[in-house]
Symmetry: D2
Subunit: 443 residues, 4 copies
């Protein structure tokens, strides 16, 4: 297969060997080599600012040097790399640090389940737990939710295209409108309540509600604290469990470690993955209220529950949360993002319909959905990695690492502004041309 | 939570913080610290020989030094650690090496899908692919199969206890008797054929058959080559895909890189994970015949598809397969195992019913199932890690790293022999006591 | 089992021999013997006015004399009684009469499927048809819908208690809010449209919408014509079939033969049963637009598709529809009902919240749900058979035969009024007594 | 639609108005008018002997005169025709007669459930009951089983073509090989037992086994008494319910009222329909052991549970069972059938592979499946109605009324013999021609 190494197009290996299912390498057509915090370099030496951050798996940036040092040390001292779910010192350290740094300061008491190292693993384990605990099968999930690609998680994921990938009808879930889905004047939690209170609604009593407090893939829709509390009350009323999928929104993405911290709710189960691994290493946790931890030993398992490099990296990453500085910095920098986007929205009202999201996940929603892709493409051309989101890919989404330097953040925002200018001018030009054409045709 | 750090019992942190679902840490009650090839050490400085090898994820042993060097180099040079499914140099190297070292020499042409880094991810993606390709939903799987813990994979897993963990009825699969399930005189592939040929059998035409060539969790049941070929013929006859789940049996565990190499079958889809990651790092591949690679971009995805440390480790691990030496050594050492077990079976015919498995996954099946656990427990007491397998946990299973040193292998086998001696003597003693008791009672 | 015939309680046979599932015989505790139009007699010679009409199966009353004559004639001439789905003269007559009397005058072209003789049979066949035609599996149904008790129909039925009777999770359906479900200010058809238009809503594109234009079991909720037309447009937009379940509302119950005649919609499939059998004999039809009649011969079947006494009775019953008189009389008499109920609502505003329904299915909804049962019980005591409806059994429902004599109708309404008076006085009395008690206690 | 009444082809009305799903009217292309016991007449005055008997719904023949008299009397006296599940004198008589005539003499104690008037209704109610009682969802059913066309029953039906009609994957059932399915040397009940005993088999513990003691639609496969008893033991061992679907085999079809009477088993639930209605009228019963009758009132219902003409006819029909004469006559006449078929099998060994069935449901299985259809077609041409059965329609099936006169039975058998002669001669002729052709080609 020597022909694969065609110098003229460095994507050849991927195009020829990798499945058609590959996706991001189509949007970002280059081969990356190194990375550091919010920057990536490709084989041609070109540098990119990363406003995608591993889809939220790199909250602490690429290759954090403190974490890297810990990883190298662990490797050098022959620390157990892989341990299934046997006890290791690295895992113990992680558990203690997680408890000390995250749970205790927030007054939370959760048992920690290691369900396998990915987001969909923790979601599947959460659904299983809720069904076991309640003896019910139905799970309430929400429009435009994203929970994962394995059959159970996919059943709770809204995207029709991805659902069809299952190749069989997905069941066991009921989709309800997310907060604001039907506009500001309609309280969708009241709808949920009515449907559950009504013994004739056709909605079988659910084992749980699973939700993201802010829907990253679904278009940066954000649930209000009052809506979340109302949903929690409904869960209590009907003895349903409340599951918060914090896989993407957790670890500080929205400004606090858990995305729900300021909302006043106390989930029964919390799903964590992505950035919990610290260095982008596969790791996932399912946090379960002790009274719901009714698993039998081994009833759920998985080979990579003991990714000790993940524990080492995760433990070191948690140090970011030891003082309040980190959280304050997130707030300060996310205000920078918000200020910039708000200005752009004001400057381009005919293109941008809305600024969405919060913290380090914000985006511009466009009147014409395809504009979002155009802006992202132009930005990539100019050295910025960012992606679209939403059911119509209508949102250009910014997800920089939380650790991004001020200077780099500004550079990235400037690229976006420039991309927006270029694309809208092109569009306007195209529109003019079209008009001109028409005129000419008429003449 | 200072109280957790009770010096008198070093499992306290796990007992108090980890979910009840934890399992192996209950069998192996100590906290491990370091590891090297086939040996692990615990916090007390005690050393253990590892005949479990990460349930097959550590075919190249713990912390292989060549791989470690590569990992450290990659970390030091700031190689991209996490890349979603963007193109990276590390991924490119892996693909090229995999093609050059594994696929080409075996005349195989597969597209490579990265479905997420775990075994259950690759199985889920394989089931999706088969259903997409055929437009059918039913999947034939086999008694005592193990394919994973997420809903789709669990539907194809035989273990009733783990299935119940789903909390809802699992569907979309039909279980058929594995080779030899009803004894030597019954050809279970002929049963499958009759049921599929019969339009009144109630078996909806399947999208695929998924099978392990040797059932690791299911009790080391091994399918004959002729049975595999017959199953493949049935798949061709009914336009079904043949999926081989080589998650545990691949990467040399049975003696060849793919477990099916010597059988004469050519699967449509192959699932790889566990040892493909080289160093015990999460990685999984789904190999798909090009004509079946009909995925749309992004139709299946996952955050940790781009675990570049996994690519680096996997690439280096594949070097083992560059010469024939490795394979010959596996053969030689697995003969040592087999000779030893056969002798034990001959020595303890009243206890051991059968030696099962092949290559580096062999085991002793006991007439009284609980004997297997007792032997494993006694062996652990004497510094050997090994586990049971089979529907009744009736098989004491040996899965050393393929790279185990001869001396360590012999030590491990000696521990087993001693454990067997101890346990059987205790049992005999207990029986005698029981008999004596009875006699006494009678007197 | 002589003891069964205990004279002192004539329900003994039923109590001892019949399953606990029996229901109406618990509300109406007597043994009926004869019946004629809107009257039934029991073994004690007591006469009852029937405002239940076989739950809508007796639109032409009990034992219509013209139909009876035809039945006796057919029996006497040895007409084929049972014919599976073979062709018989009786069936031919029915088909021709149905075409001439019902379809042609309304400009309708439907193929007629005989799916088995019950409501749930026609619904199951309609769902199958829609899934076959579209290749999709999801069916949209509505809150408080009732479509039947077999697994497919039950999946589309809203009642949680009856759904639980399935003993396994029901799937393949999505429940949407019926017209008015969330109050007058919310257009639930717009909700449906948004959810279907949104590729991220989690609602898989449906094969069909199935609905009742007026929900008989669900509490006499009535869909407006504009809502029905909007739903039809949504069906067209997404290539979904529109199924109207006219099992209970058809055959004139709402005032026209088909309940949807005046709404401006043209369903793809119409389900008929109950009164189509004319004399209360089991019969059901599934009307299918010719372009959707893609069944293969025998792909759906059933033994009792050829209940020829049903054909004979049904054919004669259709004669009611030959002139416009019948429909006018329904209108006239249903106005009588409405006038009466409206007056009662005005007289008892503290008890009656709303008059619901239309035509010959109207009812009083009570503020306190249990009042409906009390009124029905008191009415039965006074010789009137009527039942409750709605998710909380909060509606006292009137469903007299369409053929009821004016005098009998008035008598029935008078009994209701009297029952209402008695029950409300008792309630008020109970309340007063309670108050008095309290006062006494205080003294 | 006057054009429908085309005199030249009397099937026009059906061809134009009835759904494509119609089936038997395609095999028997004429319009029937009258019928009496085992004879039917068509519009052309042609007489047919009926060896189909309403697919088992007419065990007492067409239009039994005693039953007819009772029906006419009941109609004339204005007996309640339709009563939902209210108590009526006709229903009471039926219950008492059923108890006195059927249950008591056989020492059986069953509660009687009226689940709706068709076979699929009773099966659906039986499955619900078993799932409710056990809290399990899986149902074991058998290859080539037929239980009905609604979703629950269809899930337990083996026919792939009919299953596909559901339009969605059917679940909740596990198909096992019926007695003899894999040949005489393999005990399929032992297979079932092993799979259920094995906690790794993938077979979730079932709520029930549902079976026909003789598979009418499935090809007249008959379960031995020892196999039935073994299956019953397995049910007891695993706390599963045993459901016998006697819809077609009950009411004397196999020689005794219940088909299982002589086998030594005592089902937990028995499904009855078809001939229980006496006159071919829709009626069905679900017999439930009292300890399993845990239904809540109204948890399952249906409009046509109270088909009182069915009760009247059924009550009178049960008189056949008051003396032993009827059963003896069945035996005597079924011997006549068996003798005849055995002689034909001996005469045509190159065509007939086997005589199958027992009692009044026997058939000839052909080496070349299409021969069965040819024989049935030729027989119909000669005035005999009979149908094929089996997964390949390979069995020509005889199901005369149990009440058939000796003379008519002989005439029918003679027609079969003649049809067999004609068809085989034609086939032989065709074969010769083919041979001749070949010879010519060779020349």
């Amino acid at each position: 297969m020597d022909h694969i190494q065609d110098k003229t197009n460095n994507m050849n290996v991927f195009n020829q060997m990798e499945s058609e299912v590959r996706s991001y390498c189509r949007s970002f057509q280059t081969v990356f080599t190194t990375a550091s915090n919010a920057k990536m370099q490709d084989v041609n030496g070109k540098s990119y600012i990363d406003f995608f951050a591993g889809a939220g798996a790199l909250n602490y940036g690429h290759n954090d040097s403190r974490i890297r040092t810990k990883l190298i040390d662990y490797l050098l001292e022959d620390g157990v790399a892989h341990s299934l779910d046997m006890a290791t010192k690295a895992k113990e350290n992680f558990l203690l640090t997680f408890n000390r740094t995250i749970l205790e300061p927030r007054g939370l008491q959760y048992k920690v389940m290691f369900p396998g190292p990915t987001g969909t693993n923790t979601v599947e384990s959460a659904l299983k737990t809720a069904r076991k605990v309640t003896g019910r099968t139905n799970i309430v999930c929400f429009t435009n939710a994203f929970h994962g690609m394995t059959q159970g998680s996919l059943s709770a994921t809204g995207n029709r295209f991805k659902r069809a990938g299952a190749g069989l009808p997905l069941s066991g879930t009921t989709f309800m409108p997310y907060d604001g889905y039907f506009g500001d004047s309609i309280d969708t939690s009241a709808m949920l309540e009515k449907l559950l209170d009504d013994p004739g609604s056709g909605i079988d009593l659910p084992a749980a509600v699973i939700l993201e407090t802010l829907q990253g893939e679904g278009g940066l829709n954000r649930a209000s604290a009052s809506w979340l509390r109302k949903v929690e009350q409904i869960c209590r009323k009907h003895q349903m469990l409340l599951i918060v999928d914090d896989v993407q929104m957790g670890c500080g993405r929205t400004g606090t470690f858990f995305s729900f911290e300021d909302s006043g709710i106390l989930p029964d189960i919390v799903c964590l993955s992505k950035s919990i691994g610290g260095y982008g290493l596969p790791l996932a946790l399912t946090l379960i209220k002790p009274e719901h931890d009714i698993w039998s030993p081994g009833e759920h398992n998985g080979t990579f529950r003991g990714n000790n490099l993940g524990f080492v990296a995760a433990t070191e990453a948690l140090r970011y949360w030891e003082s309040h500085t980190f959280q304050k910095e997130i707030k300060r920098k996310s205000d920078v993002i918000h200020t910039c986007l708000s200005r752009l929205a004001a400057d381009y009202p005919e293109w941008i319909s809305e600024i969405k999201g919060m913290g380090f996940i914000q985006g511009m929603s466009f009147h014409e959905p395809e504009m979002a892709s155009k802006v992202c493409k132009e930005a990539f051309h100019n050295g910025l990695i960012m992606e679209t989101s939403g059911p119509f890919d209508e949102v250009a989404k910014l997800m920089p690492p939380l650790t991004i330097e001020d200077e780099v953040l500004k550079q990235g925002l400037a690229i976006i502004e420039r991309a927006l200018k270029t694309v809208t001018e092109n569009e306007a030009g195209r529109k003019v041309v079209v008009t001109t054409d028409k005129v000419e045709v008429k003449v």
